[in-house]
Structure formats: C-alpha cells, structure tokens
C-alpha cells in the first residue's frame, strides 16, 4: 500500500462520513485503521463506526443451522430404520453355525433333537 500521511487518512475519513468514498477506498481505510499508525485519537470515531457496521452486518451462516438440523433428523430416522430392521432380523433369526460359519442345516431340526435328548435324560415326572 502506498504511504500517505495522517492528514490524507483524516480527509478520507471525513469523506467516508459524507458517503463519498469508493469501495476500494473504504477497504484501504479499513486496512489503515488496523495499522499502528492509526492509534491517533482522531481516528477513534471512524474506528467505532466501521467496527459497529462490521459487527452488526447480518450473519450469512444463519442458514447453516437448518441443514444441520435436517441432517440430525435424517440420521435419527436412519438409525430408527436400522434398529427396526435389526429387531426384525432377531425376531426371524434361525441359524446353525459351525465354527462360526453359517450352514444350510435346519435349525428347528437341531433344536428338537437337542431338546428331546435333554428331556429324555432329565426325570421331570415327579414335578
């Protein structure tokens, strides 16, 4: 940035208040106000005005909240569907695994054999 004396910036600040500055000049002024040269009390008013306008500018990220909420609801629905599917699988499960590997064997046949063996040996008649 080209070096200017303080009177140049003071004049530009006055033109800023009169709305006579261009966008390029305002950007230069903003840059200058952040530098150590602008510590002078003559620039306090322009600093306060520019910083207020910067802070009170409408936030663009307000709309970001909506997609986040939508994503959370979608995730919740997805998990609920997954749990429903998982419960359905548990309800209808019928498997025979040998060494952890699924087989084609009919689980009800194995179950009946195992249970019959158990009851044949346990004497429950006296109960």
């Amino acid at each position: 940035m080209k070096q200017h004396d303080l009177s140049y910036w003071e004049a530009m600040a006055e033109r800023y208040f009169l709305a006579e500055t261009t966008e390029k000049e305002e950007a230069q002024l903003r840059k200058f106000l952040c530098s150590s040269e602008a510590q002078d009390s003559r620039f306090d008013e322009i600093k306060a005005t520019m910083s207020y306008l910067q802070v009170s500018r409408p936030k663009r990220n307000v709309s970001v909240r909506l997609p986040l909420k939508a994503i959370a609801v979608a995730a919740c629905l997805f998990i609920a569907m997954f749990l429903g599917w998982y419960q359905y699988q548990q309800y209808n499960i019928s498997s025979v695994r040998i060494a952890g590997e699924d087989t084609e064997t009919d689980a009800s046949v194995v179950m009946q054999k195992q249970m019959a063996e158990m009851f044949n040996s346990l004497d429950l008649n006296d109960r």
Partner: protein, 140 residues
C-alpha cells in the same frame, strides 16, 4: 439437538438389551466358544418359535470337549445357578430355571459326556411342562 441425541441413545440401548441373555454369565461361553472348530451354535428367534410359546433359543454343542472348555462352561453355569429357582440334575444333565420376569420364563439346560457337551438357553412364556410335552411329542 440434545433431544435428538437422547432419542438415538435410547433406541440404541433398547436394541443392545434385546438379546443380551439377561446379563447371564453363560453369555461369555456363547461369545467365546461359538467360533471354535468343534462347535455348533443354533440361534432361533421368536418368529420361528411361536408354536412352542418360546421367544428365544440359543444352544452350543461341542464335540469332544476339552477339559478346559468343560471347566469354563461349568464355572459360568455355577455363577448363573446361584439365582436359579429350580435346579434338576440327573446323570450329567442339568436344568436351571431362572426367576420369572413379566410372565417370561428363562431356562438353562446343560449336558456333558466325553463325546459332546450341550449348553442351551431358552426364554419364553411356556412352562417347563409345556416345553417338555412339545419336544417329546415332536420326537415321537
């Protein structure tokens, strides 16, 4: 957002609790031994057990069990036996009935010989007599 996270956590906890075999010690036996070469595991859900009035069947059958496997299962069984309301034992066969909860009955069967070891966990609304008559009838 907090409400959504709470809903997700509740749904997950319901799901995890569904078939945890009521936090029994023998669950460890099913987890540890089911993948072994000489082991057959059978799992059946309520949909397939309606005619027996049962809601869950889980068994483990070990061919030629090692003494380690036998000891491990018997130790876990002993731990669960402490809460049993009924205990029947006959020539290497054991039956435990656990306390009823909300009309549901819980049973553990165990049989061990040198050739094979069988551990069965059952839950459902059927009484022991009803289960016995169902399975002895189905064998005839």
């Amino acid at each position: 957002m907090k409400r959504i996270v709470s809903i997700i956590l509740i749904l997950l906890s319901v799901c995890i609790d569904a078939h945890a075999q009521r936090g029994l010690s023998i669950q460890s036996a099913f987890d540890e031994l089911a993948v072994k070469k000489n082991v057959t595991e059978v799992v059946m859900g309520a949909g397939r057990l309606k005619k027996y009035k049962l809601s869950f069947f889980h068994s483990l059958e070990i061919q030629n069990p090692s003494s380690n496997e036998q000891q491990r299962i018997e130790a876990l069984l002993q731990s669960d036996a402490e809460q049993a309301i009924l205990h029947e034992e006959h020539s290497g066969h054991k039956l435990y009935e656990l306390p009823e909860r909300k009309g549901m009955h819980y049973y553990i069967f165990y049989r061990c010989s040198s050739q094979s070891l069988t551990l069965i966990y059952i839950e459902g609304k059927a009484s022991l007599k009803q289960i016995e008559s169902q399975f002895l009838k189905s064998k005839k």
